[in-house]
């Protein structure tokens, strides 16, 4: 049998219908938008796009700020599928977050590093109680600065109260205007979101933006920047926020110690279990 005949024979088997032209065109358009956002985010970097998580950190229990708080900015491509941490409760969330923070920092939660206050247990879609599933509030210590770090996993499919459902943007449009997830609105007011862009952690798109907020009372009107990172999963949203602590030793710090990309890597790590 000739080769071409063999191939014709193979192709003569029943096969599924082609994707309709309109759907292919729509998908191509979305792909182009996502491609443009990636190029915009990474500047001169190639379209294969960027970023990610770094060296594993040591979770904190020493009781004093690390001597060397310099951020380690190793850029290693990470795959969320390989590094995702299943989270059942606050301890798991702490593990997930601490494993994503660059080495050289101290993470402190409450009075003791290992204590995390859970807002609710992980039961998506069970009504008001289940809306904010798990939240972690921590302090991140560097050598000269302390940042406030807040991570939450929110049920984005809360059945009882549609107002509390997070409005996950459609695919490929992560920077569309949307309300802040419940529980994540800062008490500080700022100038609103700016610099919205999509950062890729491996293949996972993370929505990031910055906000300028007052640096704290009595600091003479100094403004500092907070970084925000959001990851939209099936039925849940992971939100991360980091701001310089207003009453820190070096009050008036203008930006958090971590970069937007490092915060995105943190947001990419936890996944609700079950």
């Amino acid at each position: 049998m000739e080769a071409r005949e063999m191939f014709h024979d193979l192709l003569s088997a029943p096969n599924p219908p082609m994707t309709p032209p309109a759907e292919t065109l729509a998908a191509a358009r979305r792909s182009q938008r996502a491609h443009r956002v990636r190029l915009g985010a990474s500047g001169a970097v190639t379209a294969a796009a960027v970023v990610v998580a770094t060296l594993a950190a040591v979770p904190a229990i020493t009781g004093s700020p690390a001597d060397d708080g310099a951020a380690t900015e190793g850029l290693v491509a990470a795959s969320p599928a390989d590094s995702a941490v299943r989270v059942n409760d606050g301890s798991d969330l702490l593990d997930a977050v601490s494993s994503a923070i660059p080495s050289g920092y101290l993470l402190r939660v409450g009075d003791k590093a290992a204590t995390v206050a859970d807002v609710g247990s992980l039961r998506p879609g069970q009504g008001l109680e289940g809306v904010r599933l798990v939240q972690l509030e921590a302090k991140l210590y560097g050598s000269e600065q302390i940042d406030d770090l807040q991570i939450s996993i929110t049920d984005s499919t809360a059945a009882a109260d549609p107002i509390r459902r997070t409005a996950a943007p459609p695919t490929g449009d992560l920077c569309a205007r949307r309300p802040a997830p419940p529980g994540m609105s800062s008490q500080r007011t700022g100038s609103g979101p700016e610099d919205c862009r999509t950062v890729f952690v491996g293949d996972e798109p993370i929505r990031t933006h910055t906000e300028r907020v007052p640096a704290g009372a009595g600091v003479g009107g100094t403004v500092s920047r907070c970084f925000f990172a959001s990851r939209f999963g099936a039925g849940f949203e992971v939100s991360a926020q980091i701001c310089p602590e207003p009453a820190a030793p070096r009050a008036g710090a203008e930006s958090p110690m971590l970069t937007v990309e490092q915060l995105a890597a943190i947001a990419a790590r936890p996944v609700p279990a079950g």
């Binding site: 063999m6 191939f7 088997a13 029943p14 599924p16 082609m18 292919t24 065109l25 191509a28 358009r29």
Partner: protein, 179 residues
């Protein structure tokens, strides 16, 4: 250049209608799975769309599309979490009766094709399905022309041997059934 920016969507759609099926067939011969072939085709067309205005002539569209498809296929092969499973079953349901012998032969042929290394399979598909000359296949795959020729010959021999074995097995079963 093609028409203006407003024409891109129309031209793109026209090209998809005209050539999409053919491209998907090539993808199927490369990967052996219709759903993966569909994925590869969609990836290819998405890239085509992004570069549409840079493609100077319609005549090079086919060549460009083929190149993108081939690259997408070879890149997918390198991903550690994608492993090939030769199940011997075509995914789509049959909506008409097909001779059992035809189905079995096709399954044997498909298995034999998928058993070839990816590059050798690509050589056969590009040479004997896409009808490309040896030199062009060599350039596309980054191989020497002599390598393309030897891969072609050995690959064809393996496919024919698989079919010959299948024929012999069918004859034997036929004879046994007659006893």
């Amino acid at each position: 250049m093609f028409g203006g920016p407003d024409d891109r969507d129309r031209e793109f759609t026209e090209y998809y209608v005209a050539r999409g099926s053919r491209l998907r067939a090539t993808a199927y011969l490369l990967c052996g799975d219709w759903h993966q072939a569909e994925d590869l085709t969609q990836i290819t067309f998405a890239k085509l769309y992004r570069n549409w205005r840079r493609i100077a002539h319609r005549e090079v569209l086919d060549a460009y599309a083929r190149k993108v498809l081939l690259r997408a296929f070879l890149d997918e092969r390198r991903r550690p979490w994608r492993r090939e499973h030769i199940t011997g079953h075509d995914s789509p349901e049959l909506d008409y009766a097909v001779d059992a012998v035809d189905v079995e032969s096709r399954m044997v042929l498909r298995a034999a094709l998928l058993a070839l290394p990816a590059r050798q399979r690509a050589v056969l598909v590009l040479r004997f399905w896409e009808d490309l000359p040896v030199q062009q296949v060599a350039e596309l795959l980054g191989l020497a022309t002599g390598t393309v020729k030897s891969l072609s010959a050995r690959g064809l021999n393996r496919l024919r041997a698989a079919l010959d074995t299948d024929d012999a097995n069918q004859d034997r079963r036929l004879l046994e059934g007659l006893r």
